[in-house]
């Protein structure tokens, strides 16, 4: 299979499947289960397809004549695409009970999920600002709607409202930025812009600097960096758990995928200009995020707030990209993977035990789970440890790379603050563990069913552990080294 084929086949598959379900949904033969399995199968096939493209180093401009070099398929995008698809697959697989128990999860939901994945796929391949924007909008709008799916729920509607309003607001900043860049560079293609920047002096790049700044603001909004991320707690709270998992685990990574590309191609020349801003953003984000996470009473909101903190960590690596390009960039890749699998797992567990109800999972709801459901509790513990960056989990390795790259870039103090917020994060993550294990069960034993969901949760937990200690010494399964290689290839395929 040629890579070019994969690059076209994956989005096409997603699109076709989406449209098929959309139409099929009106048929009487449609049942929720069928829709569910069609979606799962699509995602699985697409994942297998895209995973094929992972592991070698290449970079192909897709149909340059037709698409005018607007999308590029390289290891970088292949890796991310596989991640999205895997993420979508895992979210859906774990959320079986949610899909079954709720009546608002109609066939349109599957369609929107597939559309949003389609948007992300394009986003990760986009090499042009407008294409990226539209892809981002496709993904965002699908997610907006997914958030507001449960229109009987006031909370969901409110979350939808906030997300949509602020999202549109931030999108207009992106467009303003795009306009300014276009005004100066006369192009929206990343390569052309990069070439323009290299060619000219700073005083004829003023609008590019300002425009990039505006685009960065949109990105900051999407990754919920402070002060642009005020929405995140509310929206995560209002959305149903699988959707939250999807947003935290998949959508955020998609944004980062695009960000990383833009950064490595264009921003890197303005590194001196943006570094202080990103550093400031990282510090504020980590600080405020951990403040918010500490006071939350519900696990879901805590995870939401902590996802802000994780954005802060990634910003650290972004700040270090200029000085320690390759290590920082691959650190981001690795960290994203680490965060992705841990967050999907954590939210997945929550959605598994919430059984589709829209109630918040409070800390108290976890009491005594270790007694009744040891495997679930153990998995959740592992996810928490990973999010907290505890050694022997993948989260630690991710944090390790990020901190190393920060120190390598000379930002030791930034690493120090990162560590400090990791320290604070210990509190709220371990609080979950404490509730799981130390409190007496407040409720009677519940039968959750859905062995498949459980299996995927446990599988994610195993991956988290293996990503923390895995070595080819022990078993012939790719471990940390392989992941590392992968992220390095991805970064190198960007042609740096």
């Amino acid at each position: 299979m040629s890579n070019e084929f994969i690059a076209l086949a994956v989005p096409a598959l997603l699109l076709l499947s989406a449209i098929f379900i959309l139409l099929f949904g009106f048929s009487t033969h449609y049942t929720k289960n069928r829709g569910y399995f069609i979606t799962l199968t699509t995602l699985f096939i697409a994942f297998i397809l895209s995973a094929n493209g992972v592991g070698q180093k290449y970079s192909i401009v897709i149909l340059p004549d037709i698409f005018n070099s607007m999308i590029v398929y390289d290891t970088f995008s292949a890796t991310f695409i596989s991640l999205f698809l895997l993420g979508g697959f895992l979210t859906l697989a774990i959320a079986k009970s949610f899909v079954d128990k709720t009546n608002f999860f109609t066939h349109e939901s599957f369609v929107l999920l597939l559309f949003s994945l389609f948007g992300m796929v394009i986003l990760s391949m986009a090499n042009e600002l407008l294409t990226a924007f539209i892809a981002l909008e496709i993904a965002s709008m699908s997610v907006y709607i997914l958030v507001g799916l449960n229109k009987n729920s006031l909370k969901a509607s409110e979350a939808f409202f906030k997300y949509l309003l602020l999202g549109s607001f931030s999108a207009s900043f992106y467009l303003l930025g795009l306009m300014l860049i276009y005004a100066q560079a006369k192009s929206t293609n990343l390569d052309v812009i990069a070439e323009y920047i290299l060619r000219t002096e700073l005083h004829s790049q003023l609008l590019i600097v300002a425009g990039s700044m505006l685009i960065m603001i949109t990105i900051m909004f999407k990754i919920a960096a402070v002060p642009f991320g005020a929405w995140v707690l509310d929206v995560y709270e209002g959305a149903s758990l699988p959707i939250t998992a999807y947003m935290a685990g998949v959508f955020k990574i998609a944004v980062f995928a695009f960000t990383l590309r833009v950064f490595l191609k264009d921003y890197i020349t303005f590194e001196a200009v943006y570094d202080p801003l990103i550093i400031g953003g990282a510090l504020v984000t980590m600080f405020v995020g951990s403040l918010l996470a500490v006071i939350q009473k519900s696990v879901k909101k805590m995870l939401a707030a902590s996802s802000v903190v994780h954005s802060g960590y990634i910003l650290i690596a972004f700040a270090s990209i200029g000085e320690a390009t390759s290590s920082a960039a691959s650190a981001i890749m690795f960290y994203l993977f680490a965060y992705f699998i841990s967050a999907i797992g954590a939210f997945g567990v929550l959605s598994y035990i919430s059984k589709g109800s829209d109630k918040l999972i409070n800390y108290d709801d976890l009491d005594g789970l270790a007694k009744t459901r040891p495997m679930i509790a153990a998995s959740l513990t592992i996810f928490m440890l990973s999010l907290a960056g505890f050694p022997s989990t993948i989260g630690f390795i991710g944090k390790f790379y990020i901190l190393t790259s920060a120190i390598e870039a000379g930002y030791t103090f930034l690493a120090f603050f990162g560590v400090l917020s990791a320290f604070i994060s210990i509190y709220y993550y371990f609080k979950v563990i404490a509730h799981l294990y130390f409190k007496e069960a407040g409720h009677v034993e519940v039968h959750y069913g859905y062995k498949v969901s459980l299996a995927f949760i446990v599988l994610s937990a195993v991956v988290v552990l293996w990503g923390g200690v895995g070595t080819s010494l022990l078993l012939d399964i790719p471990g940390i080294n392989a992941l590392n290689e992968l992220s390095r290839y991805s970064i190198e395929s960007l042609g740096l």
Binding site: I66, N68, F118, M141, Q184, L207
Partner: protein, 171 residues
């Protein structure tokens, strides 16, 4: 030629003034219907500004889609929801807010304007015949921008699906 340029500038000044004033009225009017009406004025003056620089196709699109479709939609919604005056939010501190936010945003605008003034972005390209016509735009669209065009269609589909999903009464 000079007189044409001058004429253009005068026209621009008038249209700009109309656009700004009407947009200010739009954001400060109490009743949404007033806002919508003044917004139409803004949109039309913007459309006129399009026309001023030969973007005839976009002028038409602006009038049809914005002033026509979207604004009608807004008006329709306002009517449809039958929002009465007493249902409107009681915005006691509206003017304070407007003032405060204007102050806050002033540096942003000032900086951007300053940056624009400083940069030498204008290339004064020579406008060829038929520039901005539907043919011209269409050729560009289907030669260079096929992908965004296709993607936008998907975006619209998404919005459509979403609007239907959300608006239909749940069974």
């Amino acid at each position: 030629m000079r007189s044409l340029a001058l004429q253009n500038e005068i026209l621009f000044a008038i249209l700009a003034l109309v656009a700004i004033v009407s947009s200010i009225v739009m954001i400060s009017a109490h009743r949404p219907i007033d806002s919508a009406l003044s917004f139409i004025v803004t949109l039309i003056s913007v459309a006129a500004l399009f026309a001023l620089v030969n973007a005839t196709f976009l002028f038409v699109v602006q009038i049809i889609i914005y002033a026509g479709a979207i604004l009608s939609l807004i008006l329709f919604i306002i009517m449809f929801l039958n929002i009465k005056d007493e249902n409107l939010p009681d915005e006691k501190h509206k003017n304070r807010w407007l003032f405060a936010i204007s102050i806050i945003i002033a540096p942003f605008s000032a900086i951007l304007i300053d940056l624009i003034m400083r940069s030498d972005i204008a290339v004064h390209g020579v406008v060829r015949e038929g520039f901005g016509t539907i043919k011209d735009v269409g050729l560009t669209l289907f030669s260079k921008w096929v992908l965004p065009f296709e993607l936008v269609s998907i975006l619209l589909l998404v919005a459509l699906v979403g609007a239907v999903t959300l608006s239909k009464r749940s069974e």
